[in-house]
Structure formats: C-alpha cells, structure tokens
Symmetry: C2
Subunit: 342 residues, 2 copies
C-alpha cells in the first residue's frame, strides 16, 4: 500500500498543474530534442532534413467514452483520429503507430476486432502502418493508448509558439457540431431523431485534416497552428500563451454549420457557446502574417480546396477578447476542462 502525505490530490491540481510539476529533469540530453512537453507533438531530429513528430493519446472507458454512446468501430477510428490530428497540427505526415489495449477478460473478441477495423480503415486512408503494440488484460475498464510517429520538413514544422501581433487568425471549418453531438449523446439536448445523426457522427467519427495541415505547412504561410481539440477558446489560448500574445475574436465571424444553427433554434440554446467552449472538432486553427493571407486564401481554393474562415487577429498583451459588430469588446476566458477537477 502506497503511503503519501495526502497533502495534495489530483482532484485539486488537475492535469496541467501536475504536468507543470514534473517537467523538470525530463530532458537529460538536449541533443536532437526540438520540442518537448507543451505542443501537439514532440519534435526531434533533424534526420536527412526532416523532423520526427511523436504523439500519444490514452482513452479510458468511463472517462473518455461509454460503450452505449459509441460503436466499437467508431471508437477505434476516433482513438487513431485524435493522434492523426496532432500530427496534422504540426503540418506533418503520419507514418507508423503502436496500439496498446487493456481489455477486460470477458470481452467479445469480435468487438475488439471491429475496434481494430476502425483503426485500420483510417490508417489505410492515410497510409499509416500499425507496426505493433501491447495487448493486456484489464480488471475493469477498456483502455486504449495509441502512439504515432510522423515527420515534417525541418523548415515547414508549425508550432503553437509562432504567432505575432497583427497576424490574422483562421479556422478550417465550422465549430461546435462535435460538442452538440456530445450533448445529444448525454441527453442534454433531445432533438428530433432525424437531426441527431449529423452531430453524433461529428463527435464519434472525426476527420483529421492531414492533407490540409500538410498543404498549409508546405506553403509556409502560417506563423502558428494547433488542432481544435480542447475547444476554440482553449486552443487559441494555448497559441496565445505559447506565443506570448493576446487574441481578438470577431463574434459574428465564428463559423457555425447550418445544422447547428437549426438545432440551436429547435432546442433553444446559443450555438456560439458550443462553438467557443465545446471541444473535439479536430479542425486546424492557425495564425498568418498579414502579407501572407492572400497566399493562404489562394491555397484554400486551389487543387485541394479546404474551408477557411478569418475569425480574428493576434494582438499584443495576453488573453482573448471578443469583438462584437457594434464595436463592444468583452474579455472571454476558456472554460478549461480538466478530467481531474470536479
């Protein structure tokens, strides 16, 4: 039995407090480490002109998913997708993956094979090889850990830390659909059945934007990039913090899907709340110096077109402010979600 002092519980300091407290001494050899803890992927190298990207995500039953809200296929797909999205956020190309599973002994083999099929299908789309892993028994919860290696040209990699005052803020799609899907799955919104499937799919089958991320990185137009996993405000907050800047968001420019607007009017909620604070859209959020915005807009209409919305501007200082069409300004803070903090 482990005896601690009991002075501090995870429920008090949360994930981010803990990570801050163990960062020291993690890098005994600076050689080749370009970026350690604190971005979407770790970065090391270069090897023959390319950096390697390294990321991992753990999904735990009862915390990240429930068996009555996602199919085994979707769970496999999503557990790989969230890692692919981390590679996309750095502008990288995913290469090889390892999959660790802790499986309750009485689980149906067929269900876990279906889960694997979801992983293999999304890996097949992106030519990612599953080269091994670890399969162990679990006393209780199903646990999935995916690790993924990718690479990126050493002059193309995009960090959270490159945003500068005056840079424009763009996002590559409409936000909030995934969060609406989660609310529907939790019965916090109960729309007509015909409206639900769009949102549930957005939540359970995210599409990581590998091609878009690579194209943006290769074009060298962006100063910083992140994927929208924690929520638009949180993730813009990460860029601002790592870059030492503040952000202005234009309230009327936050892009909402027509489906979300319709759902909001039927179910009587403000869709902007979900768009700003809901997570797991797995879009790309990027900042672009003024003189390169035209290149980005041309790229978005080019051979591999992608949605693109100008939603704000990087400013001096810190924190995020929201500007309304009438010119009024409001300070907004991300509702930081932390699994450890009740």
């Amino acid at each position: 039995v482990w005896k601690g002092t009991g002075a501090l519980k995870f429920s008090e300091i949360g994930e981010f407090g803990f990570i801050e407290s163990i960062k020291d001494e993690c890098i005994p050899s600076l050689k080749d480490v370009i970026k350690g803890i604190g971005d979407d992927c770790a970065v090391f190298g270069p090897y023959a002109g390319r950096f390697f990207l390294f990321t991992t995500d753990m999904l735990v039953e009862g915390i990240h998913f429930l068996r009555d809200r996602i199919t085994p296929y979707q769970l496999g797909w999503k557990s790989m997708a969230v890692n692919l999205s981390d590679i996309a956020a750095m502008g990288g190309r995913p290469l090889v993956s390892l999959v660790s599973l802790a499986i309750p002994v009485q689980t149906d083999v067929e269900l876990i094979r279906t889960l694997y099929k979801g992983m293999k299908d999304i890996c097949g789309l992106h030519k990612v090889n599953i080269v091994g892993g670890d399969t162990v028994a679990s006393p209780d919860a199903l646990v999935i850990n995916v690790s993924l290696i990718g690479d990126v040209g050493e002059h193309e990699v995009l960090y959270r830390s490159g945003a500068r005052p005056g840079d424009k803020i763009y996002i590559t799609g409409t936000v909030g659909d995934s969060a609406a899907g989660l609310k529907i799955l939790k019965n916090e919104i109960v729309p007509p059945a015909s409206m639900s499937s769009h949102f549930i799919k957005a939540h359970n089958e995210p599409r990581p934007l590998i091609h878009t991320g690579k194209a943006i990185a290769a074009s060298r137009v962006a100063s910083a990039m992140i994927d929208v996993s924690d929520g638009l405000l949180s993730d813009l907050g990460h860029i601002c913090k790592e870059s030492g800047v503040g952000g202005l968001l234009f309230r009327s420019k936050i892009p909402l899907s027509s489906e979300l607007k319709r759902l909001a009017s039927v179910a009587n909620f403000n869709p902007l709340d979900l768009a700003l604070s809901g997570g797991e859209d797995y879009l790309l959020l990027l900042t672009v110096p003024e003189q390169k915005t035209q290149d980005l807009e041309l790229l978005s209409k080019g051979k591999r077109p992608f949605p693109l919305y100008l939603i704000g501007e990087i400013a001096k200082g810190a924190g995020i402010r929201m500007v309304s069409d009438d010119g009024s300004v409001e300070v907004v803070s991300p509702k930081g979600f932390d699994h450890f903090i009740p």
Copy 2:
C-alpha cells in the same frame, strides 16, 4: 451497449491468438517498414544509415502490479526499464519516450511524482528524453503506458529471426532471481527476511542491458537476439519459431545465482524451474555462429565487460530439447503465460 455474437472470448484465444487474428491490413504502405508486429521492437527506415526502433508496454494495476508489492519509485523505474530492454534486445540506443498515465482521481500527487522520479532516473542514466505524453483520469485502476523510440545502425540491428543450426546460444547473466522475487512478493516462498531483498530488487528494479546490447550489435557477432522477459524457455522459443529452427539447452550450464541456489535449498524448491519458466530477468539471450564465438567471449572480457554463459546450441527442426550431463535428452515446452487465459 456493445452487442457481439458472444462466440469467442479473450479468455479463450488469449493475447497471441488475438494478435494473429488482427495482423492483416495493419501495413497499408510497405515503404520504410522493416519489421512490423512480431519482434521486441518495430523497425522502420533507414534514415541516414540508421533504423528507428519503436516499442510500447502497458502496465495495469491489478494485472501487472499491486500497490502493496512495489513502491511508486520502483513502478516508474520498471515501466521504463521494460521498454528500454526491448531496445537493448535489438542492439539499439534509446532516444525519446512518451508516458501516458491513467490515474484514479483521488490519488496522492506526491506518489505519482515519485513514480515519475523513477522513470526520470533510469532515463537519465541512459540519456533518454521524456518528451511528452498524456495524463488522464481513471475510474479505477492506475494504468501506465510507455512508448519509446530508439535507433540502431542499419547493418547492426538484431532480430529474433537470424538463428541458424549450429549457432551457439548465450545468455548475459544468471536467470530466475526475478521469478523468485515474485514468488516472495506473493508469499509463495517465505524465506528469512534477510534473504528476500535481493530477489525483490531483482523483480522490481530490473536493469536493462543497453550497453551490452549495443556492444554485441556493433561487434556483429550475433545472428539473433531477444531480451528474457517471458522466461528463458519462452524467449528461446520465440527465437526458434521466428528463425525456423530448434534449440538444445545444456541443463548443467543454465546459470543460477548463488543467492538463488541458497534460497532453493532453504525453501526446498528446484531453482532450475524458476530459471527456465520464470520471466522478467531482462537479460539478453543471443545466438552466435561458431566462428564468431571467440570474438563474443573477447568482447565480454573487454573494456565494458559483461557476464556471458554458453547454454546451448541451435539445431535443425523445431522445439526445444534439454540435454543432461548423462546424455539423456528431454523435450521441454515453455509454460506460455497469457494474462487472458485462466
């Protein structure tokens, strides 16, 4: 709720049966994948003359460890050590690691910081950087997943599959101490307290043989190598299976520590049983063509000396036979341990 056919449970097919059944379609792009599922590490590359090695291990509370049998520091140390040992088995150099932890919310932060200290200390010894990871809440069990990347010269890498009839079989230390430690921790052996600590330490604080593995690989004397994690018979069985050969073991040559011999006489058991079937010694088991055995023996007595025992010989055919001093031969099969199979 997931509905399967219920036709097949993990408790029936086990880990290895499951892995066989999902191997297909894991490698959509053969480019750069040298070795996928089925060795100590996955191998990909080369990049500038070196292969990358990629491995992962998941440790689950209640399955792989219990809080009253290992300290937090030892658990951190061991969870990293088992991955380092996989890199050692390929002759590689470990580089960067990601750590995923699922932590019960009410856990003392101090205990997990101590666990991290164990990881950082062994990483420091081997100049391995912990470059990130994922820290999440767990409803129940503590789960640790470590992923590790290493590299190795493309002409130095050692697989399980290179053993040829006539090759000599060597092991780099005495076997069975870790298994004795586990039996003591489980109260299956109850020796005088003064005798216990050696074995418990062998079990809870394994020392991965990175330097020895690298020296063996660089000297190009071995035809195959593996680390002894499942047990001597099991791991020799892996080499034999992957190489398409059989093995002869010389009963009287299996090296036992003086501590194990003494414990066996006090507690009245056959130490050879633990040496053959007990796991987690994290030694290196290698095969060496006859004409290179002298080079290996010189290497073991060189600048960085290491223990070395000749314990057998690779033969044609399949399976493992044990040869006694009187010339009698007995077929032995590894008692394959599978967490899923009762």
